[in-house]
Every structure is written in structure tokens, then in C-alpha cells.
Symmetry: C2
Subunit: 379 residues, 2 copies
Amino acid sequence: LPVTTIPVPLDRTLDAPYDVVVGRGILTELPQLLRERCPAHRYAIITDSRVGTLYADRVAALLIDAGLRAATFAFPAGEWNKVRQTWADLTDRLVETGVGRDAAIIALGGGVVGDMAGFVAATLHRGIPYAQVPTTVLAMIDASVGGKTGLDLPAGKNLVGAFHQPRFVLADINTLATLPRPHLAGGCAEAIKHGVIADRAYAEAVGSWARACLARDAAALERLVERSVRIKAEIVAADVAERGRRQVLNFGHTVGHAVEARSGYGLLHGEAVAIGMAVEARLAETVGVAEPGTRAQLLDLLARFDLPTVLPPTLDAADLLEAMRHDKKARAGALRFALPKTLGVMAQSADGEWTVEIGSDEILAALKATRAPDVSPTI
Amino acid sequence: LPVTTIPVPLDRTLDAPYDVVVGRGILTELPQLLRERCPAHRYAIITDSRVGTLYADRVAALLIDAGLRAATFAFPAGEWNKVRQTWADLTDRLVETGVGRDAAIIALGGGVVGDMAGFVAATLHRGIPYAQVPTTVLAMIDASVGGKTGLDLPAGKNLVGAFHQPRFVLADINTLATLPRPHLAGGCAEAIKHGVIADRAYAEAVGSWARACLARDAAALERLVERSVRIKAEIVAADVAERGRRQVLNFGHTVGHAVEARSGYGLLHGEAVAIGMAVEARLAETVGVAEPGTRAQLLDLLARFDLPTVLPPTLDAADLLEAMRHDKKARAGALRFALPKTLGVMAQSADGEWTVEIGSDEILAALKATRAPDVSPTI
């Protein structure tokens, strides 16, 4: 089977670097990859109730047919289950089933599964190996690089977690065939972000592939996943030399996380990030960081995927600001944002920082201005 | 103030190595050490209800007087509180008080506090810096080296956790003045272990210091802490080259952890380890690994500290074996033990392993034989 292998360099640990393997119909390669790169006495497949129904039996059968020991541990689907209680339940179930230090974990599912299974792997027996088998665009292009795992607390998203690198990531594009359309579009919001923060030509290409991607054209999706993973891996690698460079990956996320949390997770992560990018691009133009027109170009790209670009009317601007302050990125009380200069180029301050400090008044103004389309009432 | 500084090499991460600073009355050096080695926008002092009453106000006042921001977060004392719920409560309280990524944690207390505060530091915001201020012999000589943090699950001790290295450890011998005598003796059990696994002369010296240590003679305790930290640091360092060497640190702990868990934490960790060493030394003699008489020499050292060396009659041998199987050190179902050849020298198998696989029958026999003194009933 034709596959693309993208090496991910590591900056935080002495663990070996790993590969993201991308292809169509390559789920069958999983047992061999596990044997070679993540050998273990037994495998615990952690998944959620939705993905589990679709793929867990097939993955478990592939492993067992290959002579590997495997068992599935599913938890209820939904971001609101990415919490400490689910982690507690999973760790108890794994230990009670005899999953020891010689076991490994397979994270089968989307971003929530990756975060949860990754945190279980990071903490069980003080850390055991794991492999990621992402089944959403978001998990393939975002969670697959960087080794971030995390849980949400009542006060905000990903407030506890750990860095724990997988042994490999296997991204089978064919699993996207079952992905609901909003999740497909939401994942593409991160691909648009990759274009905005690093590569104008790629941003424009993603826009041109919108129709094909939403129709689940496997070739278009494969190109998108491959290019996005490369961009994220390059940025993470550059962060070794250029401390803080990876901050640009947070574009859209400071506002996006607050929107996601305050909407009670009624919005998908990618939808919240789309709104977040719209607000932060406005901020970038308001404070004079971005070239005029940058925001309009971004809105055009998001619109091609039918992604939301205005705040739901139920969300209060002051309340969102408060949520951002609680977010982990609030440093010494001040809020900082990664902002574009233009599509493909992010702003860097004179002192080398990849984020810009913004005052509360500007943030509140940008939030309020992004509440509804800029139309005057007609009489 | 005269201090001894012991460098701890690191084997698992790219973090900078750190020092264990040992001395008498050196708590006053804490603000300066924090400024130099663990700079942060604010400090969260995590402690338990017992140590908090004794030292938290003083430590907080030292920091505040030095112009640092500090707040105390106490949890109820006792090993049974080293659980996920306490971690959940602490992470919520820290986040709600605005402890962000720019904060650092100070672990003020014994081993339970070190494990809990260390796991909070390892996971809050995916990891923030921390410093250890141990106030027990056990925490000073054991938890201070290795970066292990962990929580207990219903199924066993330390089944979840993370490796997270402190920026420094400050061990003020004067804080041992308030340590209850059983905790003092329990900590010395680990010092005896250090002698058994690495240095016969030190094992004998610890025995000769028993009376002084139990009388809280600061000079004797300082020598013990300093030498034990050096031994543990050397073993951890040697593990880089000699993969698995640190397994010798588990002497007494495979049985000890099971005893501790099954006694409902009615025994201190050090007491359980003393019993564990007595059982495992018997095992070492039974299977022909240890020179005859090794166990008798060990029992003599433990007796000088009034440490227990037989299993409580309430504990069932088969039940303890089951608990060991659930322990994280059970690999592929088989139980392996780090065993002494003689005082100061640990056994190494022909294939270079520092642990020896032992069958269930031998383990059960050793457990049963260590239930009561070997005396025949008199008529």
C-alpha cells in the first residue's frame, strides 16, 4: 500500500523521534507497525462509544489475527467526557484487567480519545508506550504532532495533562469516510490555520479543495493531512532552536478555547477555532499587526467549509474574557495572542516573541464586533 | 550556614540536573534558592494538614518577606489521601486561585506530599516547575532522587504517576525534630536498604548510629541523609549506562508494597519495607542467591531501630501474592525480585538483569515462614 511517512522530531525528551504514517486503507498495517515500533506483551485499545462501534472490533480482530493480545476499553463519546472521572474509570479498568508496565495503549479515535488515551498512557505505571490511530481530520493533523495529552477541568480545557510522545501515528484516510460532515469541516479549520500561520499557498490550496474535502474525496483529504502534518512537524522542530515559535500554533485558540468552554461544548473544537480565528484576525487588524484585508481573506476560506465566523449571541464578551484569563496561556495575568501579519506569515515582536500582548479593551471590542454581521438595520 | 550539595544526574529528560541541598536550619535559604533555581510569578505551597500546621505559615512568611508571592494548599494527612480525588481537589483549587503556567509548586512535607505535589506539578498545565522541601527522613533520602511522583489506586500503590524532576531539593535536618518516632525509624529502614544494596560499611554505620538517630541527634541524621542521597544518586546515574541497575532500589519493596496495601495502610511505608526486606532476604537465602547469614545480619540492623520484621498475623500469604501480581513490577505475569548476595552487594543474573524471577511456591513459603518467630512450642 502506498504510504507517506512524515518524521516528527522531538524537542522535550530523549525518547526516539516517531513517524506519522499516512495512507488509504492502511489500517491493516497496524499489527506490523506495533510489532516493530511499539512491542508489548498486550495492547489496550482505548476508544469512545462512537468510534468503538465503527472500528474497535475490526482493529482488535486485526491484532488478534496477527497473534497479538488485545482488549478494547471504550468510554462515552463527547468532549464533556474528557474529564478526570473518565480517566479514573479507565485507569481502574485497565489495572483490574491486569494491564501492566509491559502493556501498550492504542488511541483509536478523534482528538478527545487521543487526549484521554494519551493521558492514560502518560500516567499509568508512570508512563507506558502508546500508538495513535486517529479517525478524524482534527486528530490526524493536530493531535498527531506534539505529544500533548490533556483533560478538561470545570474551569477550562486541557488544564491538566502531560507531554507524552506516541511511538507512531497511523492515519488511515479511509476512516474519514464515516466522519460526520461538521467534524470534517471542523478539522479543516485547523488546516486553514496551518496555511495562515506558515504557508499562503497552502491556505489557498485548502480553500480550493473545500468542495472535494467535504465530499470526502480521499485524494484531496490525503493531500491535506500530509501537508498539514508536515507544517506542524516543521513548526515543532523549529521551536527547539527558536524558543516559543510553536506559540503560532495557538492562532485562533485563545478565543477558541474560551468559546468552546463557555458554549458548554455545543460547538465542535474546529468550529470554535474558526470563530476564534475570525475574532483574533479582527484583533490583528485593529491593533495594526495584520495587513488590511487579511481577515476578509481568512473569512472567505472559512466560508467555503461553511464554518462559523461569528460568536453565538448567547455568549457574553466579558464572560469570554474571564474564561481566557483562566486559560493556561494567561501569563502573569496578561493575555497574549499569536497573530497573523498576512496569510502565511505570523507576527513576531521586536524582542523575538511570537505572541503579542493585548489589552482587555481591545479584546472586548473585537469580541463585541464579531457578534453579528456588520450590517446596518434597514428601515 | 554549612550545607552539603549533592548533584543528581538525570537520565530520562533533557531537563537540567538538580541538587539536593542538605543542612541544619537552612529553611531560611529557601527564598534565595527559589529565585535562583525555580523562578516563578507565584508559588503554591502544597502540604498536608500535619506538616502544614508545623511549617506552612513559616515557609509562606519566609517567601512573602522576601517579596515572593505565595499561598498554601493543604490536604488531609495520611497515605490514604494520596488518591485521585485529592489530586482533583488540589488541581481545582489551584486553577480557581489563578495558579497559571508561570507559577511553581513547593512540596512541603513527607513522601505522600512529595508524590502528590509532584504529580500536581507534573500535570497542571501539562507540567510546571517545582521544588521539594522534605520534612521526613524518608522523603529526604528516597523521594528526593529519581523524580518519581504517583498516586495510589484501590488496586495498589503508585499505579498512576509521572516522572517529573524538581528544580532542587532543600533538606533541612532541623525539621526532623518534629517527626514522630515511628516515622523516624521507618525512614531509617530505607537507609539500611541503601547500605544493603550498595555499601556494607554504610549499612553497619547506620546500625551504629541507631541510638543517636532515634534520639534525633542532628549530626547523625545529617550524615545519614547525606550518605543515603549520594548512594541513591549514584545508582540512578549508573542506570543510564547499565540499564536496569536501579531495580536494586526495589529491594524489600515488592513484598513491602503488598504488605502496605493489604494492611490498609496501618503500617508506615518504612515499616512495610522492613518486613519486605526480611521476607525477601529469606527468599534470597532459600533460592541460594544470598550467602547464609545475610538475613540474620539484616534483622540485627532492623532490630536496632525497633522496626518490624515479621508479617502481621492478619495478612494472608496468598492474598499478598495476589497483591504483588497487581503491582506495576509484575512483568508478563512473572514476579521478579531484587535480591542481595551479601550485605552491600546485590545479585546480578547471568544475562545482566538486576532482578531474579521467583516461582509462586517459593514466594508463598517465604511469606508463611516470616509470619512468626522460628520457635518451637514448648510443652
